[in-house]
């Protein structure tokens, strides 16, 4: 069965950045917590979300096989049969898919035998065409294959097929419109986020007229296209699967902000800044950046940035982005019991603090506030606030009056 075979393909991520012994025991503890959450009936999805976000993410591909479906609220008891191969010739996107999959060699682990890789590439084509065929409203984009290959390598063909289909109708929905207008709209969140945290970097980038296309491949491939270490990619996928669909753009902003000095030292013109930013350093402190992205999401939730994002370009922006996101939330909303439970766990002072740091114009305080939030709440509580905001828009009002 392809599922078993594939488990060994993807690399498992160790907990990065912590001492070995300490790391081992933390890792064991986390694994125990994850299996407890998985074993609960129904599975404790809120806890799984926290695990996916907090340090080290979901730890191994075995665990991902079990948890990723839960993060997408899916039952995987009955997997569909292998998609029919006769989809190929007559699909309008077949040639583009073929072209992109053929030259996706770098997405496969170095050292994988050619015939194994070629088999996986065939599966990759099948999955993509299967999802497109069943969902004629979805349109293939270059980069979609970079997302699908990650699921294939972690989950195997059959599980990947169902998860990718769900993801495509939810998190990736906007990228798969007939046009990229909604994608562009999402990119328009980038500069407002940067501005809130570091106006100097923002102004510099505006002056250089660098635009946001340097972050396009980050966004629409969830960084799968630009990170060469597969462990980093799956770690980010843990995070993004557990979060709001706009989280990747917050993460993109955090990467730019992380490189503020380099940016400000750069020549202030489009080419130089684009060139600098489009090359992601491969040794980023992922765990730190993930928790920062979560912080920024809490402090500057999409609802607060929406107007500025819309003003980024004079063009009329499509409102369907937000309809889709609401839809996504509605369909995946954890049941109300879970929601209530999570709300109770947020300590009152944390709520108060969240309120304080959320003042939109307190720019200079922002960096301090970011630290405060992370330290005081910890990643778990952060996740609670995060998901509360994300999946239950009404809570938004209570936390951020």
């Amino acid at each position: 069965m392809s599922l078993k075979k594939s488990k060994s393909i993807g690399a498992s991520s160790p907990l990065n950045g912590i001492g070995k012994q300490d790391g081992d025991s933390r890792r064991r503890r986390k694994m125990a917590e994850i299996s407890q959450a998985l074993g609960a009936s129904p599975a404790d999805v809120a806890a799984l979300r926290r695990m996916a976000i907090s340090e080290g993410g979901l730890l191994s591909d075995e665990i991902r096989c079990q948890v990723w479906p839960k993060l997408l609220n899916m039952h995987t008891d009955h997997l569909p049969e292998k998609p029919a191969a006769d989809l190929r010739e007559n699909h309008k996107d077949y040639h583009q898919v073929l072209l992109d999959v053929r030259r996706s060699l770098r997405r496969f682990p170095p050292g994988m035998p050619d015939d194994q890789r070629e088999g996986l590439q065939e599966e990759l084509i099948d999955i993509i065409l299967h999802v497109l065929d069943r969902n004629p409203q979805l349109h293939y984009y270059q980069g979609y294959h970079d997302i699908v290959v990650t699921f294939l390598l972690v989950l195997g063909e059959r599980l990947a097929t169902v998860l990718v289909e769900k993801l495509s109708t939810h998190h990736l929905r906007d990228f798969m419109d007939p046009t990229m207008d909604n994608t562009k709209h999402i990119l328009n969140y980038l500069m407002p986020i940067i501005e809130r945290v570091n106006p100097e970097v923002h102004d510099f980038m505006q002056q250089a007229e660098v635009g946001t296309i340097f972050a396009l491949s980050w966004l629409i491939t969830w960084f799968g296209h630009v990170l060469s270490d597969f462990r980093h990619v799956v770690r980010l996928y843990d995070f993004f699967l557990a979060c709001h669909p706009l989280m990747p753009i917050y993460f993109a902003a955090v990467i730019v902000l992380h490189r503020e000095e380099e940016v400000l030292d750069c020549e202030c013109d489009m080419a130089s800044v684009h060139h600098l930013l489009s090359q992601i350093p491969q040794d980023l402190p992922y765990e730190t950046l993930i928790s920062r992205a979560g912080d920024l999401f809490v402090q500057f939730p999409p609802s607060e940035l929406a107007r500025e994002a819309a003003q980024q370009n004079s063009q009329q922006t499509a409102a369907s982005t937000f309809k889709d996101f609401e839809l996504a939330s509605a369909q995946q909303k954890p049941d109300s019991v879970l929601r209530r439970r999570r709300r109770e766990r947020v300590p009152p002072q944390a709520q108060a603090q969240a309120m304080v740091v959320a003042r939109p114009r307190a720019k200079r305080l922002v960096r301090l506030a970011v630290m405060g939030l992370t330290v005081a709440l910890g990643a778990a509580a952060l996740a609670v606030v995060n998901t509360a905001l994300e999946w239950a828009p009404k809570l938004d009002f209570q936390l951020f009056p």
Partner: protein
């Protein structure tokens, strides 16, 4: 580790003076015709061993020297898929000095798309006054040829562009891609008659006949 397709090369041991001139060239054409390989070949001097789909716009640059002047040649390598063009790529058409249209000599459809690419340029107000060249790539795959030189030359003539047939891959012919971009750079620098520096013995790399009209547009009257 950096993505192997992104790089900047400069002449060894030199650094461009602060105000060195910049030539900005945009490379367009259907997906898969070899735009990424061509730009990589020019900037890195070799055929990349693993290319990937270009998402959005990639940037490569190389510092060259013409008549003692150091010039930065910036190549903007664009995504071929239609959906990226409408809302994404516009930004990169600004202040472009030259346009390189690419088709694949083994793919007639990529040749038939050329009028649409020319139209896209026109819509971004890049008309005949901006130097444009046509490149037929993958000449190493002779057995699979679908677009004859004659047909391509006719098309190039009718649009007053010089035509180059080349291969980003063909190892016998290392310098030809370089020569093509250098041609554009020379044109931009001087607007003087082009010295097409053909590598000796480059047979497949043809100095193709230029139409009269094109001759006029690419040379001065002296």
């Amino acid at each position: 580790m950096e993505s192997s397709l992104e790089l900047t090369t400069s002449l060894p041991g030199t650094y461009p003076p602060l105000r060195s001139r910049i030539f900005k060239i945009i490379v367009i054409g259907d997906s898969g015709v070899g735009k990424t390989c061509l730009t990589y070949r020019f900037c890195a001097g070799k055929f990349p061993d693993k290319t990937e789909a270009t998402i959005g716009v990639d940037f490569r640059e190389k510092v060259i020297e013409i008549d003692g002047e150091k010039i930065k040649v910036q190549l903007w390598d664009t995504a071929g898929q239609e959906r990226f063009r409408k809302s994404m790529v516009q930004h990169y058409y600004r202040n472009v000095h030259a346009v390189v249209f690419v088709y694949d000599v083994t793919n007639a459809a990529s040749f038939r798309s050329l009028p649409a690419w020319i139209e896209e340029c026109r819509q971004h107000s890049l008309g005949q006054e901006v130097p444009r060249i046509l490149v037929g790539n993958k000449c190493d795959l002779r057995h699979a040829l679908q677009v004859s030189t004659e047909l391509a030359q006719k098309f190039a003539d009718s649009h007053s562009m010089p035509l180059f047939e080349t291969s980003a891959k063909n190892p016998d012919d290392n310098d030809h891609v370089e020569a093509i971009f250098m041609t554009v750079a020379h044109k931009l620098k001087s607007q003087k008659p082009l010295v097409l520096s053909q590598p000796p013995g480059a047979t497949g790399a043809l100095p193709l006949r230029k139409s009269e009209e094109e001759e006029r547009s690419w040379s001065c009257s002296c």
